[in-house]
């Protein structure tokens, strides 16, 4: 019996040692806040679009303000998001201008990722800022590439150093691709038809040229997938619609 007991003790010890040896990820401990705010606002980096799993092009910058709207430095900010979204760093204190910057990478599945940046006041009350980013799958990503090459000059109101927006030069203003109010109401087949045959063939502005002889069918489908992915308000999820019982 005594021997059994010894063996039991030995096994438990073995167990304890193996347990202690397993790798534990280091837990980041943020410094204690030196100040508290009463509001949190977005400075930049909201509503970005990136391939699934990728790092967002721009870091997300938030600012903590006090009740008077003045920036607060040294306030604690924490980012939280669904599984797959990674923040670098996930928590920390605001800098001298009251801002906190985090590099965000999205999860591996395409779709909309909602995440929050939060701060606390002295009483522990939590102020939350809701943020969103859109992850694109392969087809939507291809659509984005094509859109930037062929469509964005007219359909994107923003100019960049490489590309001046032509939107204001047109007699009929094109719809921005994110204009869900309008584009969500147009069926996939109609969008494909507009892109392929141009505006004139569909009794719309001739300023929209036909792309059916320039782009392949797959390319045009990718463009539609991209338009659906970035729609604001979001395009209703594909799939069967069920009768409510």
């Amino acid at each position: 019996m005594n021997r059994d007991l010894r063996q039991l003790v030995f096994s438990v010890l073995l167990l304890a040692v193996t347990g202690a040896c397993t790798h534990k990820p280091p837990v980041s401990v943020a410094a204690a806040p030196t100040a508290f705010g009463a509001a949190i606002t977005e400075v930049s980096g909201g509503k970005q679009i990136a391939p699934s799993g990728a790092l967002l092009d721009q870091p997300v910058v938030v600012q903590v303000n006090d009740a008077q709207g003045t920036a607060v430095s040294g306030a604690y900010v924490e980012f939280r998001g669904p599984v797959g979204v990674a923040f670098d760093p996930a928590a920390g204190l605001t800098d001298s201008s009251g801002q906190f910057t985090s590099k965000v990478s999205l999860g591996g599945a395409a779709g909309r990722y909602h995440f929050t940046a939060a701060t606390r006041d002295k009483g522990g009350k939590i102020y939350e800022l809701k943020l969103e980013a859109i992850a694109l799958d392969y087809q939507q990503g291809l659509g984005r590439q094509l859109s930037q090459q062929y469509c964005a000059r007219c359909h994107d109101p923003e100019s960049t150093p490489e590309r001046v927006s032509n939107m204001d030069n047109l007699a009929t203003k094109p719809h921005a691709f994110s204009d869900g109010e309008t584009l969500n109401r147009i069926s996939d087949a109609d969008l494909v038809s507009m892109i392929s045959h141009g505006g004139a063939a569909l009794n719309k502005s001739a300023e929209m040229p036909p792309y059916g002889y320039t782009l392949s069918k797959g390319d045009i489908q990718s463009l539609v997938a991209y338009i659906r992915a970035i729609a604001d308000p979001p395009y209703p999820q594909k799939g069967l619609v069920y009768a409510k019982n």
Partner: protein, 708 residues
């Protein structure tokens, strides 16, 4: 798992005395013993079916049945569900994938709203899953039938799933060309060639070609003529302090090492005869650099097409083909600047900078303008004693040790072979061969990322220098490296999609000499060779009218007033212009159509018909300007003088199929009838710019060249 083993071990040890009992029992009552053993054996036999019954995949398939039960298309979903272990087998690829055993709904489009794994629908890709398998792209152990073993994302397995971030690397195993859908992979490959990686690391592509650098590291053979030892010292200590966009990495040299390297570089430098450097220059031309004249000459010569300068706000303005010039006056000696502007090829035959035909006063003006762009603080604190022979010898040893000659031409140092580890199969490197730094996740992508981001984090004595790369660039490079797998190298060549073959086109004769001297290939592509900054000139002889081409070569400033990146004025002589334009008109013709097959002028009725088509049916004015007072379109080039620029046959062919003549142009193919195309050609040929004022009303500018 550990707990189970420990308990089993304890039980076995504890049971040892009892085993004696069994043997005693056997000898005393064999019938009873036989009964006991039968029961034990029966129990043991039951383990296998029990394990099968409680297996993970069966659990997921049952869960899936529950999920689809309440859906409208439950019957068809149920019918398509294949129970049991499923397998995609591709012998030629060595792929045995049982992933579809649990991932049962990969191709069920009606389940697009389901976001729980393993029942998610696979996003649309250009390949059929049943023909390409899963582990081909996602890696992992395809034959495994448990979650842990198949994904092995938690352990240092040889083949864990590749994170979504790097998934484009899998495309690159077969696709050696650039795909529109893989921007990250394309960028990574470009960076491998541009950031100097392939100058030290051998990267042999699966098709056998070796990747070569597309950057242009300068020769150091005559460095004393170009710059001072103090500048070299400050530069190699921290290149990014001189120019944030510098490609040269930081080797983290100590003060003494940097001193000795500069001592050696100065000592190995030889002098060569440079244009204008030896002869006494007119004093007047040299002494009075006029800043306004310099700035306007810098602008007129379109130096900004290739070189960037920091503006007052600290942002870089200009191209990135040549080095940043913000502090060029600190780096280059004024007399060297002058000789370089006279003929860059005399100092560095490999340079991409064209040989401008500047006049002596122009050189003096530009030399003064550039020399004034100085930041004395950069070298203010550098005080170097005279070099000793010992320092020079030590410097030479350091230059060999750090492989400087992998990039730069240096006298007395041979370009080292296999200086750094070969990366041709780095995407399949076994984890057992890697030495991870403390605190790192033990996966290959993490290892590669960390190695690129901060090489010396693996040990301060490592030779690989610190590159100033952004997080996105590190991810892109990791993706490109992960594509270099064993599978990519060893698969049948028929499965590969070939890369764009490298062109070694070299124009012949005196015109070819001129084309090389003017470095046309730095910006233009001809017959597959050259840069992509300016239009492809392969068919230029078919598209341009001879007189226009000659005028344009003489004074290129007239074509696109609003572009920031433009063709520089080379100040060519009449005979040079004639040689060049004759050659272009003869050699660069599209064999698909006859250049002079269409008349240059048309009946007014046809011109009017074309005008109406232009403005109403095809609304060309949404992108092109003909009448700058009325038209506003700003996507394509201005067409107000197109009738004296392009040939009618080219216009006609181009309207019929733009992508045929200029692959990738965004001009849409409108599928025009011959009649419409002829009418539009008639209208465009009537636009010679003579009756219209050509003043451009647009103030916007674009750097993107659009096909003409």
């Amino acid at each position: 798992m550990v707990l189970g083993l420990a308990v089993a071990g304890w039980l076995l040890m504890a049971m040892r005395p009892k085993l004696g009992l069994v043997t005693r029992l056997w000898s005393s009552d064999s019938a009873r013993a036989f009964g006991v053993m039968s029961v034990v054996l029966l129990l043991l036999l039951a383990i296998a079916p029990a394990k099968n019954h409680f297996s993970e995949w069966r659990h997921y398939q049952n869960q899936y049945r529950g999920l689809i039960r309440s859906r409208a298309d439950a019957v068809s979903l149920q019918r398509r569900l294949q129970p049991g272990i499923q397998q995609i087998w591709m012998p030629e690829y060595g792929v045995v994938d049982r992933c579809t055993t649990c991932h049962v709904a990969l191709m069920e489009a009606s389940l697009a709203d389901v976001s729980t794994q393993p029942f998610r629908v696979h996003p649309p890709i250009p390949h059929k899953l049943t023909e390409f398998g899963c582990s081909t792209c996602h890696r992992g152990q395809g034959a495994a039938t448990t979650v842990e073993e198949a994904h092995s994302s938690t352990k240092a397995w040889e083949q864990p799933l590749v994170p979504a971030k790097y998934i484009e690397s899998s495309c690159g195993q077969c696709h050696l060309n650039n795909l529109a859908g893989t921007p990250q992979l394309n960028y990574g490959r470009k960076l491998l060639a541009r950031e100097g990686c392939v100058r030290c690391h051998l990267v042999r592509q699966p098709d056998g070609t070796q990747m070569t650098g597309t950057d242009a590291p300068p020769t150091l053979q005559h460095i004393t003529q170009k710059t001072t030892r103090e500048w070299i010292y400050a530069w190699i200590k921290n290149p990014q302090a001189y120019s944030p966009t510098a490609t040269m990495p930081n080797f983290g040299l100590s003060d003494d090492d940097a001193r000795d390297v500069t001592a050696f570089l100065m000592a190995q430098s030889t002098s060569i005869a440079l244009p204008g450097l030896s002869d006494a220059k007119p004093a007047a031309a040299k002494s009075s650099p006029d800043p306004t004249a310099g700035a306007s000459l810098y602008g007129e010569s379109f130096c900004a097409s290739c070189h960037a300068v920091q503006n007052a706000a600290g942002t870089l303005v200009g191209g990135d083909l040549g080095p940043e010039l913000t502090k060029i006056g600190t780096k280059a000696k004024p007399e060297w600047l002058g000789s370089w502007l006279r003929n860059p090829g005399a100092y560095d035959p490999e340079t991409r900078m064209p040989h401008y035909r500047f006049s002596e006063p122009q050189i003096a003006t530009l030399e003064g303008f550039l020399a004034a762009k100085a930041d004395p603080d950069f070298v203010a604190n550098v005080h170097l004693p005279d070099a000793t022979a010992q320092q020079i010898a030590h410097g030479k040893a350091l230059v060999n040790e750090y492989g400087c000659a992998s990039c730069h031409a240096i006298n007395g140092i041979r370009r080292p072979d296999n200086f750094a580890p070969e990366l041709s199969r780095v995407g399949s490197r076994p984890l057992a061969q890697l030495v991870f730094a403390a605190g790192m996740r033990h996966t290959l992508p993490d290892y590669l990322g960390a190695k690129i981001r901060n090489p010396r984090s693996f040990g301060p004595s490592l030779k690989m220098p610190q590159f100033g790369l952004t997080a996105q660039q590190v991810d892109a490079l990791t993706t490109a490296l992960l594509a270099l797998t064993d599978r990519a190298q060893s698969q049948p060549p028929a499965l590969r999609i070939a890369a764009q073959p490298e062109s070694h086109y070299d124009p012949a004769g005196p015109a070819g000499q001129l084309i090389r001297d003017l470095r046309c290939f730095s910006c233009h592509q001809i017959n597959g060779r050259g840069g992509d900054m300016a239009p492809d000139l392969t068919w230029e002889g078919s598209s341009a009218q001879p007189k226009w081409l000659a005028d344009f070569l003489k004074n290129p400033n007239t074509l696109r007033p609003a572009l920031t990146r433009r063709m520089p004025k080379f100040n060519l002589s009449e005979s040079e212009i004639k040689a060049l334009s004759d050659y272009i008109m003869t050699a660069y013709q599209d064999p698909a159509f006859e250049r002079d097959s269409m008349p240059a002028s048309y009946a007014p009725a046809l011109v009017e018909q074309g005008r109406q088509l232009f403005y109403s049916k095809y609304a060309c004015q949404s992108c092109h300007i003909v009448d700058s007072a009325k038209d506003k379109g700003y996507v394509g080039p201005t067409l107000s003088q197109v009738g004296s620029r392009l040939t009618p046959a080219w216009i006609f062919q181009y309207l019929k199929n733009p992508q045929e003549l200029r692959p990738g142009t965004i001009e849409p193919n409108q599928h025009l009838s011959d009649d419409d195309a002829r009418a539009l050609t008639a209208y465009l040929m009537s636009l010679t710019g003579k009756q219209l004022k050509t003043h451009s009303a647009t103030t916007a500018h674009t750097q993107q060249e659009v096909g003409r």
